[in-house]
Amino acid sequence: MLSAAAPMAVIWGADFRLLYNDPYGEIIQDKHPSALGQNGARVFPEIWESVFPLFQRAYGGEGVVLDDISLPLKRGDVVREAYFSGSYNPIWNDRGGVDGFLAVIVETTPRIARERQRADTFDTTLSAIADFAYSFDREGRFLYVNKALLDLWGMKLEQAVGKNFFELNYPEALAERLQRQIQDVFEHKKSVRDETPYVSPLGAIGHYEYIFSPVFGPDGSVIVVAGSTREISTRKRLERELRDVQNRMEAALSAGSIGTWEWNVETDEIVADRILAQFFSVSPEESKGRTFARYLEAIHSEDRERVRQKIAELLAHGTAYECEYRVIDVHGGVRWVVARGSLQRDSTGKPVSMPGMVLDITERKLLEQRVQETIRDLTATQLALEKQAGALESLVVERTAKIQETVKELEAFSYSVSHDLRGPLRVMQSFAQALKEDCGDEIGPVAKDYIRRIVAAASRMDRIIQEVLVYSRIARTDLPLERISLDEFMPSLLDGYPSFHDSAAEIVIEGTLPAVLGNSAALTQCVANLIGNATKFVAAGARPHIRISARTENSRVYISIVDNGIGIPKEAHESIFGAFYRLDSRYEGTGIGLSIVRKAVERMGGQITVESQVDRGSTFTFDLALAP
C-alpha cells in the first residue's frame, strides 16, 4: 500500500496516528517526516476542526467520501486554500471493531483554482478583448455576442441575441456563406476558418478572420457553434511575418524565458504575465497590479539602485528602456535578465505607460562568466608557464655552470693525478738507476738486465703519462687562434726536434706554404706527432722520406704529410685515432699521439683524414682556416 502511487495514509487508533506513503508525504510537504506516527491533532492543528468530525466518522466504522472539501493546510509556514477529494475507509479487526482507517486522497486545489478562474474571467475576458466572440444555435441565430462585436454593430446584447446574419442586415452573399459554414460545423463537427471584408453599419471598414468551432454536448453531438473574429491587416505578408514572430514569442514564452509587463505609470500598477511574475517572485494574484517598488524589491541588492536610477532617468527624459540586472527568486536563486521597454507619453509629454518584456539571460551570463573565467584561468596558466619557463631557464643556466665547473674540476683532478703519478715513477726510475751505478759491483748480469727492464718500463710509463697530460691540456685549455705563417713555422718546428734529424729522415717542404689560423701549441703537437710517427714507423733498414705540402680550397688550407712508412690497413683507418690504440707492438709508442693530433685539429676547427695502404706509406691530411 505504502508504495502505491496514490497518496494514502493509515490513520490508526483513537488518537489518529498517521502512517503514510511518499505521495501523501508530498501533499503534506514540510509536515513530513515529523507527521509519521504522530497523532492527527498535532499534525493538522489548522484544519483539525474540519477534519476531526470526519476522522471520528471513519473511526466509527463509516466510509467517508471527500468531494473537493476545503481544507486550508499550513504548508511551508503559509496557510493557503486547498481542496481534496478521496475517501476514508475503516479498517476492521477480527473482533468486529475498527482499529483505524485508510485515507486515499487527491489534492484538487489546482483544478478548483483553474475552474474558479475560468468562471471568474470568462465574461470579463470576452468583454475586454478586442476580438469578437459569439455563439450560434442550430438555426444560426446568435446566442451570445461580446461587447466588441456589439460595439461594432452599435447594438445592445438583447437586440442581437436570437437574430441571424440576414436579420442583422449582412450583405446577402456574405450572410449566405456564413450561414452555410455554421451548418457545416454542426454537421461535420469540425472547425471552419475563413476571412472576409466587412463594413459595419456605423461605416467601419475592416478585413476579418473568423473561426467557427463546435461545442459538444454530453452525447457527443454539436449543441452550439462558438465563433471568434479578429480584425486583420490587409497586408498579409506582414501579418504572417508577425505571426511567425508571435509563434516564436509564444515558444519562448512557453519555455519560460520571456516575461512581459505593462506598467501604468499614472497609477503605478504593473500588470505582468505568469513568467514575469515568476521572475520577480510575484504571485499570480499579485501580478494583476503591483507597484513598481514591489518589483524593485526582487532585484538583486547590488543592481537595485542602478535600475531605480535608470527608470528615474527614463521618466525624466527618454523613451527606450533597456537594463540588465539580477533578480532573486523565491528559492533565493539568482537569475540574470535583460529588461526592455518603451515609455509611452501623452500629448503633453507626461509618461503614461510602459509596456515591455524581460528576457532570462542567465545562461548567456553564465556562459560569459565562464568565458571570462576561462580567459582568466588561461592567463594565469600562461603566466605560471612563463614563470616556470623562466625558472627552468635559470635552472638550466645554473646547472650548465655547475656541470662546466664539475667538468673543470674533473679535468683538473685527472691532470693533477697524472702529475702525482709521475713523482713516484721518477723516484723508482732514479733508484733503479742508482742501484746499478752504486752497487754495480755487487750484482750480476741477470740483475742488471732486470734493472734495465725496470728503468725502461718506468720511462715508458712516464712518456704515457706525459702524453696523457698533453692530450688533457690540448682538450681542456683555451686554444686561441692566431695567424701562423706555415713557411716560418714548419722549418723552426723541424729544427726544434733534433730526433727528426737523428733518424736520418729526409723531410721536404714542398712549395710555399700559406698562413693559417691556428694555435701554435696545438699545431706543434699535430705536426710533431705526425712527423714523429713518419720517422718511426718505417720498415727495418729503410730511410724515411717525408713530404709536407699544402693546398688551399674555399678558404681552407689542407696540410698533407706523406711518408713512405709501413702503412696502415684500411680497417684501422678510424681506430688509429683512438686513445691507446697501437697498430704494431714492435714499434715503441704510447698509442696516444694520434689522439692528440685529432683533438688538436678539432680544437682548431679542422678535421683529419688518412689515406694509406700496407707497405705503401701513409698520407695524413688536416685542414685549417686560411688566414685572412
Binding site: 691532470y415 693533477s416 702529475h419 702525482d420 709521475r422 713523482g423 721518477r426 723516484v427 726510475q429 732514479s430 733508484f431 738507476q433 742508482a434 751505478e437 728503468v455 720511462s459 712516464d462 697530460l469 685549455t477
Partner: protein
C-alpha cells in the same frame, strides 16, 4: 756581496725523503763545491732563513746563496715561502728556484708572479739530476740575482 772565499750553501726545502736523497747523491757525485742543506717543509725553511732557535748558529747553519723550493709541502708550501721571502728586503739578492713535479700552468704562473727566478721540473732520472746540479753549481758562482737569462736546462720559462 758575500765574501768570495765562503763556500756555496744551497737551502733546499723538500718534504720527500727520496727526492732529498737523490739530490744529495747527485751533489756528491758531481762534487758540488759547497753544502746542500735540506729542510723538510716550508715553515722550517723560514725558520732557517730568519735564524730562529738553533739556526741562529750561522756556523752550523750558514746563510744560503741560493734557495730551492718544492711546491707541495706541509705547513708552508713553496709558494708561501716564496711570498714570505719576497716580502723581506734582506733576501732580495737571493735567487729562488722552484723545483717541483708540477708543470701545471697555474703553478708556473703563480711562481713567476710571486718572484721566482726560475721554475724547474724535478729530474726524471739520474742523468737529469746530474745536469741540474751542474747548473746549480754554475748559478752559485754568479752568487746574486738577477738570473733572468741564465740557461738552466729543463726550466719552464714564464708563460
Amino acid at each position: 756581496m758575500t765574501a768570495p772565499a765562503s763556500p756555496s750553501v744551497i737551502l733546499y726545502a723538500e718534504d720527500s725523503e727520496d727526492d732529498a736523497f737523490l739530490m744529495k747523491r747527485a751533489f756528491a757525485r758531481v762534487g758540488f763545491p759547497g753544502r746542500l742543506v735540506v729542510v723538510p717543509h716550508g715553515l722550517e725553511a723560514t725558520r732557517y732563513l730568519s735564524g730562529e732557535g738553533r739556526y741562529a748558529d750561522r756556523v752550523a747553519y750558514p746563510f744560503p746563496q741560493l734557495i730551492l723550493l718544492d711546491i707541495k709541502m706541509p705547513h708552508l708550501n713553496g709558494l708561501d715561502v716564496l711570498h714570505w721571502l719576497r716580502s723581506r728586503n734582506a733576501f732580495d739578492d737571493k735567487p729562488v728556484l722552484m723545483l717541483t713535479s708540477s708543470s701545471q700552468e697555474s703553478d708556473v704562473r703563480a711562481a713567476y708572479a710571486a718572484g721566482a727566478d726560475s721554475y724547474l721540473v724535478k729530474p726524471a732520472n739520474l742523468d737529469l739530476f746530474r745536469e741540474l746540479v751542474e747548473d746549480l753549481a754554475l748559478l752559485c758562482a754568479l752568487k746574486t740575482r738577477p738570473l733572468a737569462r741564465f740557461p738552466l736546462r729543463g726550466a719552464i720559462v714564464a708563460p
